[in-house]
């Protein structure tokens, strides 16, 4: 599975959203992506890509797009 597919599937699974909604998805933008959902998302991403993010990056992970940028730090090109 390529990284983009994996990244998208994690979002769709955690927040039960459709692929076409992902591009504009932001933290607190939908009910499911609240602070509880946020930690679930991070756990899934860390498992999926076998990385461990810094706390500051978890805090800065404010949107679907921002996440792609942050994952580069962990050598994950989405």
């Amino acid at each position: 599975m390529n990284n983009l597919k994996k990244y998208n599937e994690i979002f769709m699974k955690v927040f039960s959203v459709e692929e076409k909604a992902l591009e504009e998805l932001e933290y607190q933008g939908i009910d499911e992506w609240d602070s509880v959902g946020h930690m679930e998302l991070i756990a899934e991403l860390e498992d999926g890509f076998d990385i461990m993010m810094d706390t500051d990056d978890i805090i800065d992970f404010s949107s679907y797009k921002k996440g792609i940028e942050l994952l580069k730090k962990y050598e994950v090109e989405v």
Binding site: Q28, M39, I59
Partner: protein
């Protein structure tokens, strides 16, 4: 607003001595006063009556909606813990203030536990987070700390009983590794220490246990801090059991207790002890009302607050742990104050 937060966040969290901190606070509090006066008309009014940068009693946040942002900038509203029937404080956060709080908490706690996110055992029930609309200070506290750890595991079931299957699994998985345990003081004692101690069960969990949220309930059971630490070290292998002092009105900039039992103010916040009679500064060793100052809030005028707690300043810049800044202890709630705090308002249902 002319505040360089990146400068503050790049400072080691306990590195400023008295004079350096004074200088920094003078500059930033001036900016915060200007910012909040310009953006919160109630605050501006208070300043015109009381003078610049007054210490607002925490109760004001119950009676008034104090915010320095517009409605559509509101990102999260935090409410204080309270017993049934109490009115709660409402603290309005925008994205920036909220992120700042989370990052400050991380900087402060990592100074004690290290930068790596450790496997985390939360000594509470996951029920606290299930009803997301009822987002209590207790839930917010757990979530705030959970960003510092990984593999969050809840030690208690829905009825606040030990979930031994889950705990044992966690112990096995992280055997010989440092973990982070977190909970509210009373819950840790009542629902973790007591049953484990009764069973004579010692958990093979090394690392740090951090707890906070008020001592009052335990003090009434005559449990003192030493007993608490010794008790928890009996039922786990924790090498550090650390208390913290903080409040929802100044989330993030908490005061952590060091290995010498002193609560420390970091670069993000400061403490003053005031005499109840005339609000002058108390001497080292003299009991008074705790005034807390935090550099973090820009979305609500809560940078300087008068708490309802009493405390004693124990020293400045010279704690044997090496951390700079003021260190103090909390003596409890002032007489006649409302009961609050995540630990103290807890009632088993």
């Amino acid at each position: 607003m002319n505040i360089d937060y990146s400068y503050i966040f790049n400072l080691p969290p306990f590195s400023l001595d008295k004079d350096e901190k004074h200088k920094l606070y003078e500059e930033i509090l001036y900016e915060l006063q200007k910012h909040h006066s310009g953006n919160c008309f109630q605050y501006n009014k208070l300043c015109s009556l009381l003078g610049n940068n007054p210490a607002l009693p925490v109760r004001l946040f119950k009676e008034y909606d104090l915010k320095s942002i517009s409605k559509d900038e509101i990102y999260k509203v935090m409410t204080s813990s309270g017993t049934t029937g109490q009115t709660v404080s409402k603290i309005y956060l925008d994205r920036e203030t909220s992120a700042r709080q989370a990052k400050a908490l991380n900087k402060i706690v990592s100074d004690f536990t290290g930068k790596t996110r450790l496997p985390m055992l939360i000594i509470d029930s996951n029920k606290v987070l299930k009803d997301r609309n009822m987002f209590s200070a207790r839930g917010a506290g757990i979530l705030g700390f959970s960003m510092l750890g990984r593999d969050m595991t809840y030690a208690l079931d829905e009825n606040m009983n030990l979930n031994l299957t889950v705990i044992d699994e966690f112990c096995q998985k992280y055997e010989g590794q440092a973990v982070l345990m977190f909970g509210f003081t009373f819950m840790v004692w009542e629902h973790f220490y007591k049953p484990l101690s009764k069973m004579g069960h010692r958990l093979d969990l090394a690392g740090t246990l951090i707890h906070g949220g008020g001592w009052k309930k335990l003090a009434s059971e005559a449990v003192n801090p030493e007993e608490f630490i010794n008790g928890l070290k009996m039922v786990t292998n924790a090498d550090k059991v650390l208390n913290y002092y903080g409040m929802v009105e100044q989330t993030g900039s908490i005061f952590m207790e060091c290995e010498y039992g002193h609560l420390h103010a970091s670069v993000f916040s400061d403490i003053d002890i005031l005499r109840a009679e005339d609000f002058t500064a108390a001497d080292v060793g003299e009991k008074g009302i705790i005034k807390v100052t935090s550099l973090l809030p820009t979305s609500y005028p809560g940078h300087i607050l008068l708490s309802e707690d009493e405390g004693i300043l124990e020293g400045v810049d010279d704690c044997p742990c090496g951390r700079k800044g003021k260190y103090f202890k909390v003596c409890g709630r002032m007489q006649g104050a409302e009961i609050r705090g995540c630990s103290d308002t807890y009632e088993r249902r």
